[in-house]
Amino acid sequence: MCTTCGCGHDEMKIEGVSVHAHEHIHADGTRHSHAHDHRGPHGHGDDHDHTHEHPGQEHHGHAQAAAQGVEQARLVRLEQAILAKNDRFAAANRARFAEAGVLALNLVSSPGAGKTSLLVKTIEKMRGRRPLAVIEGDQETRLDAERIRATGAPAIQINTGKGCHLDAHAVGHALDELPLSRGMVLFIENVGNLVCPAAFDLGEAAKVVILSVTEGEDKPFKYPDMFRAAKLMLINKVDLLPFVDFDVAAALSAARRVNPFLETIQISAKTGVGFEAWLSWIEKGAVAVGG
């Protein structure tokens, strides 16, 4: 279990190191790992009660209430948002960014839309203008963080294991490893997925959704939550437009139907088209947060 925040994501790794390794070694030398925490008694599917004897250890209060054998059903009103915990971590991240004067952007797209290439090119073009940092989210491998580091910008890789999105808690841990400085732009490259990252606030100033012209122009209708949550849409790989059937006007109209306030820029990480507009959008955001 994580000692700073008390939660237990067994699969989450930052730079290949598990943040939440949760393994016990008992006095008799046996090892086991738990998915649960130890704040309360364990529940059992059936109504048996028992106690475990671990030599020299006193945890695991299995018996407790169940041992009393009293069937007293009662209602506990909670009325709690399921994502309340993530939202609390996101608020803490947001406060951290505000205090440090850092613009945090959450980059989201389908797999293969060109997020990492776009990021590499963005860093190359912004080099020397502002301090930059990157948090990379992927289910597996550190390949993307290595690509970013090759540009000279500091990058931290979060591997979500089977998780399909970054959450605010993992980003908070990554921030512990990244020194923030005033005026910095922090790019958070989310796991390639247009569904799940929409629900998880990371504390960013804005979500930037990237749609490439090798995808369907109806994506905003298929994944409305993400396009509604985003502030900016980058239509990427526009250098390929002569070779594909992608209808830019249809994509823009779908996106604006879902989110009339969405700003849009057509861009190519390959040719550099559209970067002037993209970089000035970033600059405006960085100035707005006081950096």
Binding site: H34, G43, R77, N86, P260
Partner: protein, 113 residues
């Protein structure tokens, strides 16, 4: 499959409540999943059973209260039903409609012993 993350978040909230309210077993979890919350209810129910294993809610029944989507039209000021967040106002055809119902994902109450 963020339904699994949501189910694990539910587990965390239940474990916290168990400590606070001193109960050892949850028989039933009542949750509100809005029609516009982006959650696949069947996937959530499937993940729920897995996520509760070895917790105080192991084997607990999940009851989902499905709230319908709805909004207020900024143009004509009337309430209108929404099946998608980008639906136009059913009365005057304007959009976007301000979503006022159906986005929530909440644990409402627990039946415990």
């Amino acid at each position: 499959m963020h339904e699994m993350s949501l189910a694990l978040a539910v587990r965390d909230l239940i474990e916290e409540a168990a400590e606070r309210e001193k109960f050892a077993k949850v028989k039933c979890v009542r949750a509100e999943i809005g029609a516009l919350s982006g959650v696949e209810r069947e996937a959530f129910a499937f993940c729920f059973d897995l996520a509760m294993k070895d917790s105080v809610a192991d084997g607990a029944r999940l009851e989902i209260v499905a709230t319908a989507g709805g909004g207020r039209c900024p143009a004509c000021g009337r309430e209108t039903p929404l099946t998608m967040i980008y639906d136009a106002c059913a009365h005057c055809g304007a959009f976007p409609v301000e979503v006022t119902a159906g986005k929530d994902m909440r644990i409402l109450e627990l039946e415990v012993e």
